[in-house]
């Protein structure tokens, strides 16, 4: 008989952590490739489409970067709430509402070009904040489980978008498709050879901002104390209300910003499902945040990687004629492997023969 014992590890070196995380990431991807193989795909082709092309071919990389930017911006915000020990999964909904608010500005105001973009982006952030505020207040005042509330808010956001594109904002010129009018050109953010350069610069600014907040600021200190030991943080006089509210506001504002940016530069109209502005990137960003180990600067490579994987996943879907779920499946497998890595970093298994 085997006997398996779980023992706690003490003094884990950072090298061991890094190796464990990388291994877990590879395990997650391998599981996904295995799964694809079971579905009848050629594993070499899967690897090629998933990694190689999205990162090496210029044409594919241009598309990858379109996913990288929103993933990175959202992950930067999420790492703040995760550092506080709050597990928000509401970025997807906040992103969608950010796009809706930005679209509303584009359809109703007529302004000069730079001002109009700035206005749309700010209002987009405001939309994200509004969507994040309800779960934040419930958490801060009544300690309501944020996982449930933020998830529910995502579905409400989807429904809001559906209502607008099937109803009042549906374009008469869309041949019956549930799409809105393209936004006026004064509101579009230009891309260069299809690369959203401006968006990428926004991402770098956001990363620097979250680096300062998370690593150097008073708020970052409070966030970390609450995440690591809420009892001691409270006993030290830090305000739970403030930490929850501020970290939620920053993360939902950034999700709203990501939604507005995608609308103004890439999509330029709202649409359903696979044409949607969010494309599930609010969920992918969760994976990117954890891959970065909640380190702000590591968000850039993590989101480059996840952007490429999303692009590759969509390519596989198209080539193999699979369903929408492919990218989510891949996200889930990577995230589960990383969660498992957390276990192996804190514990070790000892197998003995009895």
């Amino acid at each position: 008989m085997f006997r398996v014992k779980v023992l706690r590890r003490y003094d884990v070196s950072s090298r061991f952590k890094l190796v464990t995380y990388l291994t877990s990431f590879i395990v997650g991807i391998t599981l996904f490739i295995l799964f694809e193989t079971l579905l009848g795909a050629n594993p070499y082709e899967v690897v090629d489409r998933l990694f190689i092309r999205p990162l090496t071919s210029y044409d594919d990389f241009r598309v990858s970067i379109r996913y990288t930017v929103p993933i990175g911006i959202i992950a930067s915000g999420l790492l703040l709430v995760y550092r506080a020990g709050i597990y928000s999964i509401g970025a997807e909904g906040q992103m969608a509402v950010g796009a809706v608010f930005a679209a509303w500005v584009a359809y109703t105001l007529s302004l000069g070009s730079p001002t109009s973009v700035l206005a749309a982006l700010s209002i987009g952030m405001l939309g994200g904040i509004i969507w994040g505020l309800l779960p934040a207040i419930l958490k801060a005042l009544l300690n309501v489980n944020e996982v449930l509330t933020t998830l529910m808010m995502n579905f409400i956001a989807y429904s809001l978008v559906d209502y607008l594109i099937y109803g009042p904002w549906r374009s008469p010129k869309s041949y019956g498709f549930p799409l809105t009018e393209p936004i006026p050109t004064a509101f579009t953010i230009p891309t260069y050879e299809g690369i959203p350069v401006i968006n990428f610069l926004v991402l770098l600014t956001v990363v620097l901002f979250t680096y300062v907040v998370a690593r150097m600021s008073k708020l970052g200190f409070q966030i970390r104390a609450y995440g690591l030991n809420p009892s001691a943080a409270y006993a030290s006089g830090m305000s739970f209300f403030k930490v929850v509210l501020l970290s939620f506001i920053i993360s939902s504002a950034l999700a709203g910003l990501a939604g507005a940016l995608q609308l103004l530069s890439i999509h330029q109209r709202l649409g359903p499902k696979s044409w949607s502005v969010t494309e599930g990137l609010g969920y992918t960003a969760i994976v990117a945040a954890w891959i970065s180990r909640l380190e702000p600067l590591a968000v850039v490579p993590a989101s480059l990687l996840m952007g490429a994987l999303v692009n590759g996943g969509l390519a596989i879907k198209a080539v193999l004629g699979q369903s929408e779920g492919v990218v989510n499946l891949m996200n889930g497998m990577i995230l589960l492997s990383i969660v498992a890595a957390e276990f192996f970093i804190n514990y070790r298994l000892v197998v003995r023969l009895r």
Partner: protein
């Protein structure tokens, strides 16, 4: 189950020789790392007897019970059950011998009924036992031992005492020979306690034996036939109950700790300042909604140490948490340095001049995964910031100073606090709290788990607070500590202050007051 029955009848023939010893433990030792939990423990437990294992927290009572129940394995020593040497490797082994341990907190599934809970792990009725049969068996047991638990009630609707009785029924269904109870009365009212004792007496009159663990002297005398006193992992007395007096038993449990080091002289009197802490008619509830602190009033002035003595679980935890702002106050008022902070959070108390040295230092005192420097500025971190940016380099300077003055043994300001020893964590907390020049310090069991050297350092710091003109409220289960340091001693019993003494008052009077015996 059959095996156990056979074994008993077989051993009964033999038991004429071994008299009626059920369990005998000899030369039992157990270490955890550097800590000796049990040293050469001998114990003999007879049939039809309630044997009380008496001792303070950390005396090794629970460790001994866990070894007998197979949760821990001893480093050395022999356990004999009905005269035969046994090797108990797990609770499953223990149960197969007929040894059952009832934990301090009942282990039941809240969403199931009593009968459903008891049907789990009960094999006496066969695989397809009908609920009716189980309910019938429970009712039989109820009747026989005077237990009154409705088998069809949902466990989540039961009181603590009823849940405990369900555990007793479970033990009886497992055909228990030796029942071990770990601190069974801590959460019971006095009525419930008496009822439990009646049931236990019926159980032993029926041929079973009971090993009851407690730290309460009066309770030991109330229920036992035989008392074994453990102190610091060693048996200091083991005799029939009638051979002890209350005073002797208290002395055996507490021990005379001798003189502790430290240069400051505790008896030096400092001119008293203004009132720095005032607690008025405070009522605080415990976690299960019972009254833990009942109309307590305390006043501490600058330049004095007020000690609160008492046996654990008489409301000290709730009192200290209420003063620190970690627990809601039912009624009454708390003033710190004249500022009413009754319904305010910890930060306003700290601004009013309160320093708090919590009992659960790892939970409330430090963030283990943060560095020494970060923990030293955990309360006044905002003073280290400019335009909301924290200047950790300044914190490191402060940390270097604190490490030197308070003699904290660490690899440096950036070492994680969880790597420090308990004594050094305590020194770190004291360093942080004193750096802020408090007007009043509330210290709850500040030397719990610390070695003698760290203890005397902590004592010296508490005295220095007094000399500096601030006040100290010292809540401690260690009577020696309270007597040594305090200018005034209050005794807390069942949520109230039952006695107030001044420096030099009789230790015996305090000890009796701690047990609720107050002679006027």
């Amino acid at each position: 189950m059959c095996v156990v029955v056979n074994q008993t009848s077989f051993l009964h023939g033999k038991s004429i020789l071994a008299k009626d010893v059920v369990l005998s433990v000899s030369g039992l030792s157990k270490r955890f790392g550097n800590v000796v939990a049990l040293r050469n423990v001998d114990l003999e437990l007879r049939s039809n007897e309630i044997h009380v294992l008496l001792g303070e927290n950390g005396a090794g009572k629970t460790t001994l019970a866990n070894i007998i129940y197979g949760i821990y394995r001893p480093d050395s020593g022999v356990i004999k059950f009905f005269g035969k040497e046994v090797d108990i490797r797990s609770p499953k082994d223990a149960i197969s011998y007929g040894i059952v341990l009832v934990q301090q907190h009942p282990m039941l599934i809240e969403r199931m009924t009593v009968a459903e809970n008891l049907a789990l792990g009960f094999k006496g009725l066969g695989l397809l036992a009908s609920p009716k049969n189980i309910i019938r068996v429970i009712k039989e047991v109820n009747e026989k031992y005077g237990i009154s638990v409705d088998p069809e009630a949902l466990v989540s609707n039961l009181s603590f005492s009823e849940k405990q009785q369900v555990e007793l029924i479970r033990a009886l269904l497992l055909n228990v020979k030796l029942l071990i109870l770990d601190e069974p009365t801590t959460m019971l009212t006095s009525y419930e306690r008496r009822k439990l004792f009646t049931i236990l007496k019926k159980l032993v009159s029926d041929g079973r034996s009971i090993l009851l663990i407690t730290h309460k002297v009066l309770e030991a005398l109330e229920v036992s036939d035989w008392i074994t006193v453990l102190r610091r992992g060693e048996v200091v007395a083991s005799r029939p109950k009638d051979t002890y007096s209350v005073d002797e038993l208290v002395k055996l449990v507490v021990g005379d700790n001798g003189e502790l080091g430290g240069n400051a002289s505790p008896s030096k009197v400092v001119e008293l300042g203004g009132e720095v802490l005032e607690v008025k008619d405070l009522v605080v509830l415990n976690d299960v909604g019972g009254v833990a602190v009942n109309k307590v009033s305390i006043s501490v002035r600058g330049g004095e140490i007020v000690g609160i003595a008492g046996v654990t679980g008489n409301g000290q935890k709730e009192l200290s948490e209420a003063i620190a702002g970690l627990r809601k106050v039912r009624s009454g008022r708390i003033l710190i340095n004249g500022v009413d902070v009754t319904n305010k959070g910890p930060s306003s108390r700290f601004r009013a001049g309160l320093a708090y040295i919590p009992e659960e230092r790892l939970k409330y005192g430090v963030v283990g995964d943060m560095s020494v420097a970060e923990n030293l500025i955990l309360k006044d971190y905002y003073r280290f910031s400019k335009f909301t940016i924290l200047k950790l380099s300044d914190a490191v300077k402060v940390a270097d100073e604190c490490i030197k003055t308070f003699n904290i043994v660490t690899r440096g300001p950036s070492e994680k606090v969880k790597a420090l020893s308990g004594g050094n964590i305590q020194k770190l907390i004291i360093a942080r709290e004193l750096r802020l020049n408090p007007k009043v310090v509330v210290a709850h069991n500040p030397t719990l788990g610390l070695d003698l050297r760290s203890t005397s350092i902590v004592h010296e710091h508490l005295l220095n607070i007094k000399y500096s003109g601030s006040g100290v409220l010292l809540i401690s289960e260690d009577l020696d500590e309270v007597i040594k340091l305090s200018d005034r001693v209050l005794v807390m019993y069942r949520g109230g202050i039952v006695y107030e003494g001044v420096r030099g008052c009789s230790r015996e009077v305090l000890e009796r007051a701690m047990l609720g015996i107050v002679d006027v």
